[in-house]
């Protein structure tokens, strides 16, 4: 939601809906991009199957189904998260409550992440869980960047202007990167620098390169553990190598939007390939 910090315009709320890929569903229900509508739709609306509440219900349901694969710590962190969220989202959200709720969501997901990290055996189960994390995370980072490039910019003439810089900064904030970026770049928020950071910088845990370094490692574990190499491994290698060999100038030259669209397609293909190779659905 930090995406919209810089102004309260409907256009920005619209960009949030677009980032989440929810335009059709949302516009079926509302004909404006009123802040309250968007916030409630994203967090708790029953009409939205990917609302935060719905996703957490699914996550908890899955955790219950595979309870034996999880440690008690992970299960309890997930269950507590669900209990708190259900309480917090029991009624429509007022703007004044929004920051508190967002903070709680971030804190509780950190708890689940921490429990996973601190208590799970490093076996196939853990590596599968991590694959899911990094596939989703890479997709989110790419979407946020893409929306900025494609949607937020009123026109190309804004590139490099001060409005533009503010918006790039809000992107950094939306992936909790503003401090890291400032620390590394002495506060220089030029679009190219931000894009490079989010796409290619392996030091930043939400960058595409970081996600793929991890995905590659998790898949390598499975390859060794099961002693089988699948098409998913080749595909992950290909995407990973592609990120390693590309410079940010080359990416901008061939078009950031094209690059990101292509990346998201490959990322989704990898997810489907992993499901197939490891027989998630029979």
């Amino acid at each position: 939601m930090a995406l919209t910090r810089s102004s309260g315009s409907d256009e920005e709320w619209r960009s949030v809906i677009l980032t989440a890929g929810l335009r059709d569903g949302y516009e079926n229900k509302f004909d404006d991009y009123d802040a309250a509508h968007v916030v409630n739709y994203l967090l708790r609306d029953k009409a939205n199957p990917t609302s935060v509440l719905a996703m957490l219900e699914t996550a908890r349901h899955n955790a219950r189904m595979t309870r034996t694969a999880l440690t008690r710590e992970v299960w309890e962190a997930t269950n507590i998260f669900w209990m708190r969220l259900k309480d917090a989202l029991a009624r429509p959200i007022r703007e004044t409550d929004l920051p508190g709720i967002i903070a709680m969501i971030r804190q509780q997901s950190a708890q689940v992440r921490g429990a996973l990290h601190g208590s799970m055996l490093r076996i196939d189960v853990y590596n599968f869980a991590r694959l899911g994390t990094f596939l989703e995370r890479a997709d989110s980072t790419a979407r946020i960047l893409d929306v900025k490039y494609y949607v937020l910019l009123p026109s190309l003439s804004f590139v490099g202007s001060s409005l533009d810089n503010v918006q790039w900064e809000t992107i950094l904030r939306s992936v909790s990167a503003e401090h890291a970026f400032r620390w590394l770049n002495a506060g220089d928020t030029r679009p190219v620098g931000v894009a490079e950071f989010l796409i290619l910088d392996e030091r930043f845990p939400r960058s595409l390169a970081f996600c793929y370094k991890k995905l590659f490692g998790n898949l390598l574990y499975l390859e060794k553990d099961y002693a089988v190499r699948f098409p998913a491994h080749d595909l992950a290698q290909e995407i990973h190598d592609g990120l390693q060999s590309r410079s940010i100038d080359a990416i901008f030259e061939s078009g950031l939007h094209e690059f990101l669209t292509d990346f998201m397609t490959c990322n989704a293909r990898l997810a489907a390939e992993i499901e197939r190779n490891y027989r998630f659905y029979g």
Partner: protein, 465 residues
């Protein structure tokens, strides 16, 4: 405690001393904490017939139910005898039926019983074990006077509550467990695993692979299925995860299908194999009964054990115990009228106000009449049902159940309880976890302890000698 006329029962004396030093407000707070622990842990159950898949907590009472060592040792001898007899009975009725030939129980009771599985005739399960796990429901009517209410020989549930209740109590009142020596229950999952492994199929070499078969996440006891699988280091599987491959039961994994040797199933017989039983069942594994009969997989409890806890068979339990052990039963049966017999039916109809009437095949406290608590209209309605299908019912007197203390808003108050000890049976012998699940009727005066009917649970302590 709570026996004004007798003073505290001896088993409770140490606890009572501790209790006297506590403040009511502090204890009430502890009780709330316990609820929060159960919620967080997800120890919830689903209610059948509730509108949506709603999860509820079984109310937990923080005052333990305490049994002394002597009382327990008598009880466990009786339980052991009964479980031995049940296994011998099952073997007999699926083989030579000596007990029928000897005229001790009527043939029709077996042959016409829907819990009798012809598919089991002539087959001996691996390890000769039918009831790997039994939960015997007991009630106490006086010092050293226990009655068996029911023998749960199919898929007895509740053991996760026994374990979690203890865990929660130890977390909340560590000082109690330092001061009072209570026999531990936590080795149950390990013992269960060992006991099941002792019944592995003959061809199984190496460590047997153990699966817990659950009907799925919406089943009322799903938490327990997941819990036991987790505690035993077993796989938790549903019917659609299983398939028969190369003459073995195999489960779906991320590395393809892997064989399972022992299936601790928590689905009923009817749903186990759509090819043998209910064709529409989605919960079981088509063809598993053939493999079972070929000795390729162990199913626990064995199919067909329901005949032993049938309520019509129950009334013959004293004969059954005597027939197979050659001893007088150590545990008493509740006197039972079989409504199928015309004289008994007449008696029952005339005395409905005093009796508890149960469906022969029912469980979970559904479809029963508690005479003393029923209205005239309820009794009239029940009496019609009874006349229409007398063979479907048995009746028992309401016993003068003893009470134990529970914590209420205004302090301790007496409530009725039962006790379900969990018994493991295998070629290694019989293991009874000291204690079991105490279920408590939380409504004043109520005799119904089932969780589906508003009952709660307590930690059950057996004191060290």
């Amino acid at each position: 405690m709570l026996h004004p006329e007798h003073g505290a029962r001896p088993a409770y004396s140490d606890y009572a001393a501790w209790f006297d030093g506590q403040q009511l407000a502090g204890l009430r707070r502890k009780a709330e904490e316990a609820d929060a622990v159960f919620r967080r842990t997800g120890i919830t159950f689903n209610v059948y017939g509730a509108n949506e898949a709603e999860e509820r907590l079984i109310p937990f009472d923080i005052v333990p139910r305490i049994i002394n060592a002597k009382e327990w040792s008598r009880l466990s001898r009786g339980i052991e005898q009964r479980v031995k007899a049940i296994n011998a009975f099952l073997h007999d009725i699926y083989h030579r039926q000596e007990i029928v030939r000897a005229g001790r129980i009527p043939e029709a009771l077996i042959a016409k019983n829907s819990a009798f599985l012809p598919a089991m005739i002539g087959f001996t399960p691996p390890g000769g074990t039918y009831t790997h796990i039994v939960g015997i429901d007991l009630v106490r009517t006086g010092p050293d006077e226990f009655y068996v209410l029911e023998d749960n020989a199919r898929t007895p549930s509740g053991v996760s509550y026994m374990l979690e209740n203890r865990e929660t109590m130890m977390n909340m009142f560590p000082e109690l467990f330092s001061a009072i020596r209570v026999r531990e229950v936590s080795s149950y999952p390990k013992n269960l695993r060992r006991s099941l492994e002792a019944c592995a199929p003959a061809g199984c070499d190496g460590k047997p692979v153990l699966g817990v078969l659950t009907p799925g996440i919406f089943n009322s006891a799903y938490f327990e299925h997941a819990f036991l699988a987790d505690q035993m280091g077993a796989e938790l599987v549903e019917g659609h995860d299983l398939r028969i491959i190369d003459g073995r039961v195999a489960m779906r994994t991320t590395q393809g299908f892997k064989p399972i040797d022992i299936l601790y199933r928590r689905v009923d017989d009817d749903f186990l194999d759509p090819m043998t039983f209910r064709p529409e069942s989605q919960l079981g594994v088509p063809g598993i009964m053939d493999l079972y009969r070929a000795g390729k997989v162990t199913i626990a409890n064995a199919p067909g054990t329901g005949i032993a806890d049938d309520k019509a068979i129950y009334s013959y339990m004293p004969d059954i115990v005597e027939f197979y052990t050659g001893e007088k039963p150590l545990l008493a049966n509740v006197p039972t009228w079989r409504c199928a017999e015309p004289d008994s039916l007449k008696y029952v109809l005339d005395h409905l106000k005093e009796l508890v009437v149960k469906e022969v095949h029912g469980s979970g406290g559904y479809g029963m009449l508690v005479g003393p608590a029923a209205s005239k209209a309820e009794i009239d309605a029940f009496s019609k049902k009874l006349k229409a299908r007398p063979g479907n019912y048995i009746a028992q007197p309401t016993l003068a159940l003893s009470t134990v203390p529970v914590l209420t808003k205004s302090g301790l108050a007496p409530r009725h309880v039962d006790l379900r000890p969990f018994v493991l049976y295998s070629p290694n012998g019989i293991e009874i976890t000291p204690g079991g699940l105490t279920r408590v009727a939380l409504k004043k005066g109520s005799l119904v302890v089932n969780s589906s009917q508003g009952g709660g649970t307590k930690d059950s302590w057996v004191l060290e000698d």
